[in-house]
């Protein structure tokens, strides 16, 4: 506990990234920017998982001769799954934005809202 600020560096990073992402989702009116905010938000969780699995001085969990300190591989594997989910979400979101642009002629939220009152 000599340098508490830096021993938790990863987690500070997680919180900062998470808040940046979340803020962008809420504050941005542009649908594409919203999606990237969402992606930053998700990525912060990836960092959270990977950080918790890291063992200081540990190497990759590969079977070798002798006892070696290795990092917990499970969180990394979980995050591999979460990354796939994130990519799927982002690509589906972008595909929707393309369709929205075709239908409304804009990807700005306020302009879309103004048009939503009128039926197609």
């Amino acid at each position: 506990m000599t340098a508490p600020l830096f021993s938790l560096f990863n987690y500070w990073l997680v919180v900062v990234l998470m808040m940046i992402g979340f803020y962008v989702v809420i504050a941005q009116g542009n649908l594409v920017k919203k999606l990237f905010g969402l992606n930053i938000f998700q990525v912060s969780v990836f960092v959270l998982y990977i950080s918790m699995g890291k063992v200081e001085g540990g190497t990759a969990p590969i079977i070798t001769t002798g006892d070696r300190l290795y990092t917990n591989p499970l969180p990394s594997v979980l995050i591999l799954t979460a990354i796939v989910v994130g990519v799927a979400t982002l690509s589906l979101g972008l595909a929707l934005v393309v369709r929205i642009r075709d239908a409304f002629g804009t990807i700005e939220e306020d302009e879309i809202e103004a048009q939503e009152g009128e039926p197609t």
Binding site: F41, M52, T81, T89, G93, L96, I100, A103, I112, E116
Partner: protein, 493 residues
């Protein structure tokens, strides 16, 4: 041999058939495959329920890796109950979907509808069978991603923006859920629900676990559209194709309620966590708010699908209220309402789906007087409406009765008053539907239409019958729900 692998077949069968439909690229064949798969899943779910009743919870080690290292599929009474509910809805709606989808979705995209339908079905069943907290997230996202696509297939361009908003909200919800799971993993080193349940009780006072619970509850509340996190729901249900509205309204919020019950009761131990944190009071408050506020909003809608969507938001309140009471009786009211509300809301959305098929509209003035031209559809809607109010002899009554009893046992008069008030508010908006169907002069578009085709009426009548049969004799569903709730509460203290 096969029966031993039933738990995993529930998920694998629809998961494999979805890409097969994608390769075949034929709407008709895809529909046939989807019918076979959903009915097979229903048969499997019923067999699992019988098995659970006979021998107790089933545990299935995926890939032969024993829990807690491997992913465990664990089917207890609650999972089996939810499995039967979801697969029954899936099997009934797929019959209805054929004609409805052919009318509302361009023919070159019909097979894609069935692909997404099967994937969504996979996600729902997966959430019900899994005994692993992270695996639940994966299935939650399978279900959510496919439901975004299903919604965006709607004709109206607002379906696209509805789907996009749901995507944003849903992803935030799911991400909150994995943050919570991650924090639990950090403290316990396990993701298996049973294993988590054995390790968490000693840690409930830790800040990390408190945060985990907060993230999971908020995340799942987004998914189950608990007021005030419900803004994605009304547009999504309103602009989705009719068959999608039926399927989503009957299952999407319900499965999230199931996940919340699973987390609060199985993983966090129910009473213990309610004693340590004021989570039950908060859920109770928001549940009651939903029951009143959403019902009031529903009264003022002039779009039938939107009215029903707000009604769904208020019905979610009932389920959340039941589970927040913290007693076996309250929880069983919640569980039985998962089944009951799935059946009644599917019936109502299906009836309006029939109207859309014939008239092509959902706004009040465009479909006025449809009861005279479509008597069977209107009668089915009436049964669904009565069920929503909680009239005797319908499934809605069973829920109301159980919740009232549970609130009475606790002596919480204000809660009972809220339940009754919400029922009265439902009476007002259901009356508006009845008046619309029977007592108004038929709109011009309505005058020329006939009854919906048999392929749509048959599932409608089956649902109406379920609403009546399990309403007249609710002992089976309520008995199952009570047993499931008792099992979740654990041995009495």
């Amino acid at each position: 041999m096969i029966s031993q692998h039933l738990p995993v077949l529930q998920v694998v069968l629809p998961l494999i058939s979805a890409p097969i439909c994608l390769i075949i690229r034929s709407g008709k064949v895809a529909w046939a495959i989807a019918v076979m798969v959903t009915w097979a899943a229903l048969a499997g779910a019923l067999m699992l329920l019988a098995e659970v009743l006979r021998t107790g919870p089933i545990s299935y080690a995926l890939g032969g890796w024993p829990a807690p290292w491997g992913i465990e599929y664990r089917i207890d009474l609650l999972s089996a109950f939810v499995l039967v509910t979801v697969s029954a809805i899936g099997a009934i709606v797929i019959v209805f979907a054929r004609a409805s989808v052919a009318r509302e979705i361009p023919s070159d995209r019909v097979y894609l509808f069935y692909v997404m339908y099967l994937l969504y079905f996979t996600g729902l069943l997966g959430i019900a069978v899994t005994g692993d907290a992270f695996n639940l997230f994966v299935f939650l996202e399978i279900a959510s991603l496919s439901s975004y696509v299903l919604i965006s297939l709607g004709k109206d361009r607002r379906a696209l923006t509805a789907s996009f908003r749901y995507l944003i909200m849903g992803t935030i919800g799911a991400t909150f859920y994995i943050i919570g799971v991650g924090l639990m993993y950090m403290m316990t080193g396990t993701l298996n629900m049973a294993d988590l349940a054995s390790r968490l009780p000693g840690m409930l006072h830790l800040r990390t676990i408190e945060m985990a619970l907060a993230f999971i509850t908020v995340g799942l509340s987004l998914k189950l559209a608990l007021v005030p996190l419900h803004f994605w729901l009304p547009n999504a249900y309103t602009y989705a194709p009719s068959a999608v509205s039926v399927f989503l309204a009957a299952t999407s919020t319900k499965i999230a309620v199931y996940a919340l019950i699973r987390t609060l009761y199985t993983v966090f131990g129910g009473a213990a966590v309610f004693a340590a944190m004021p989570i039950d009071e908060m859920l109770l408050g928001f549940g009651m708010l939903a029951m009143i506020a959403a019902s009031v909003v529903a009264i003022f809608q002039d779009d039938v699908k939107r009215l029903l969507a707000y009604s769904s938001v208020s019905q979610v309140g009932y389920m959340v209220l039941g589970l927040s009471l913290g007693t076996a009786e309250g929880l069983s009211g919640s569980i039985v309402h998962i089944f009951n509300h799935a059946m009644m809301k599917a019936l109502l959305f299906m009836a309006i789906g029939c109207v859309v098929y014939r008239v092509g509209a959902v706004r009040f003035h465009e479909i006025a007087g449809f009861g005279r031209r479509m008597p069977i559809t209107a009668a089915a809607m009436l049964i669904g409406g009565l069920s929503l109010i909680g009239a005797p002899l319908t499934v809605g009554f069973v829920t109301k009765w159980m919740l009232l009893e549970a609130a009475f046992a606790k002596g919480w008069w204000p809660v009972m008053a809220v339940i009754v008030t919400s029922g009265l508010l439902a009476l007002i908006y259901v009356w508006r539907l009845v008046e619309l169907a029977y007592f108004r002069a038929p709109a011009p578009a309505v005058q020329v239409v006939g009854e919906a085709p048999l392929g749509m009426l048959a599932p409608l009548l089956v649902l109406a019958a379920i609403n009546l049969v399990f309403g007249i004799d609710g002992t089976m569903t309520s008995g199952l729900a009570l047993d499931a709730a008792r099992a979740l509460m654990g041995p009495a203290p």
